[in-house]
Symmetry: C2
Subunit: 298 residues, 2 copies
């Protein structure tokens, strides 16, 4: 067999997936794109993808690896098992599951993959769309040495930092879930503080400026409360993503018998926002659960 370029399919071309796929192209990998949205596929095709399709079975046999950046465990299951991708990949191909899923789901998928002689990394990501675009995602991964080795070209292309949490599948997912506890609480706390400032008559641009220059700052406050100041809730990441992720945090805490004070409270706040009709708005729209508060409008 001739030495050839590493072939990777990126499945799920949302803000993270599209950034990762472009990073693979820039790194010279033979890059395939899969999404249900034809416009998104056209964009990646124009950017130089080897092939794009709504159905990854179209090129499954050509792939060295698959990077899954879909939304949740149900979508991972749909792609890998229900649609039969794992039956069509070559033995020894490696799948990097970067959706945020439970440790139990990660272990389930690993079992299915092992039966087909496929490699797997339990490899959630963070960093936001901008970092994905720059090939600088933060990856928190667990899996075998051979899975890391096989996916090395993809990790090099897409990640600024790769944390090898261990060899046991499930550790990567657990670290990501605990990370999401912080991310979700920080967005909800930012919303609570900004709503309280609005109610107290503090101009929100001033409040934002103070916090981002002081010890009360967080990555999420700085990123998401800008949307509140601008009154722009067009979704970069949606409220319903945190309903899902804080649900996973809650499940994980329950299985550990761990008392989840702040994570549980933030979960109620995002759930209330979703029930009030803001599920598909930017996650900063969790601030809309506070009524009788004068918020900036776009």
């Amino acid at each position: 067999m001739n030495k050839k370029k590493h072939s990777v399919a990126v499945i799920g071309l949302g803000s993270m997936g599209m950034g990762a796929a472009r990073s693979c192209l820039r790194a010279g990998l033979s890059t395939y794109g899969v999404d249900l949205n034809q416009e998104t596929l056209d964009i990646l095709s124009d950017a130089g993808a080897t092939a794009v399709s709504t159905d990854c079975l179209d090129f499954a046999e050509q792939l060295d690896s698959v990077l899954l950046l879909v939304v949740n465990a149900a979508q991972v299951r749909q792609v890998l098992i229900t649609n039969g991708l794992i039956d069509r990949l070559q033995p020894g191909a490696a799948i990097m599951i970067s959706a945020t899923i439970s440790a139990q789901d990660a272990r389930d998928f690993a079992e299915h993959l092992r039966a087909k002689e496929l490699l797997m990394l339990d490899a959630p990501v963070s960093g936001g769309a901008a970092k994905a675009q720059q090939g600088e995602m933060t990856v928190m991964a667990s899996g075998s040495d051979s899975a890391f080795t096989r996916l090395q070209p993809v990790l090099e292309a897409t990640a600024g930092k790769v944390f090898r949490i261990g060899s046991e599948i499930g550790l990567g997912s657990t670290v990501k879930i605990i990370h999401q506890l912080l991310a979700g609480v920080h967005i909800a706390a930012g919303a609570e503080a900004m709503a309280m400032a609005a109610k107290a008559g503090i101009p929100l641009a001033m409040m934002y400026d103070v916090v981002t220059n002081a010890a009360g700052n967080s990555w999420m406050f700085e990123n998401r409360m800008q949307h509140v100041v601008e009154g722009d809730y067009s979704p970069q990441s949606m409220v319903d993503i945190f309903v899902k992720d804080l649900g996973l945090v809650t499940d994980t805490a329950q299985s550990l018998k761990f008392p989840l004070h702040l994570g549980a409270t933030a979960y109620q706040m995002f759930t209330a926002a979703s029930n009030a009709g803001y599920g598909s708005e930017d996650d900063s729209a969790v601030i809309k659960i506070f009524r009788d508060v004068p918020l900036p409008e776009k």
Copy 2:
């Protein structure tokens, strides 16, 4: 009257106050120091203070301004009113109240000062001991133009950033209190996440490393959870400070009739930590409310 150096007394030489006093000395101000701790006074004296004392009445007549960096409103009241400092300052002297106090207390003090023809800035600070040491505190201040003008030499010496929130006394305090809502929630959320990681068997140094490289990071996580990783709870700022500050947040929310989801939860966590005997430990010791969790030891 000859043009002379601006004379300032820094009252309360804790980690912030000592840093601010040293910054005043570096800026060439005639600097007086007041604290109840004689060792602390000796340190400032050696650093070049014009005079130091446990009683600020010793040099009240010499002062152009006073910077109050004591712990709470009761201490401010003790110094200014009970001990009679406001009866001994020259008319036109300016007092910068940088303790974290309620807006109502700030307005009360302003009334007392106005009766003695003294100026006042409602000027809480943030940034931590390191920033204070560098003369780079973040100041969130409200007050009259003449108060800002009179305190200009002190602000220049001690602050990296001065936010002029407005002229109304109480606005500075309110902004600081809302800032403390975020600071307190972020410390408690960091503790919750690290305790959950420990319970899930994730090495805490690894968890710390992941979070500080990802979107779940906060200023407080990065600063305080380092203490947890090192198992070192010697106090830089104590649990009981957040019992006090989140109490102020709760009072303020109550007076605004504002629903305080996360702030109230974090308040319970710090209160529980204090009741369990950790009130005088570093505020990161709020993590000790989680039992049956293997934490690093020093």
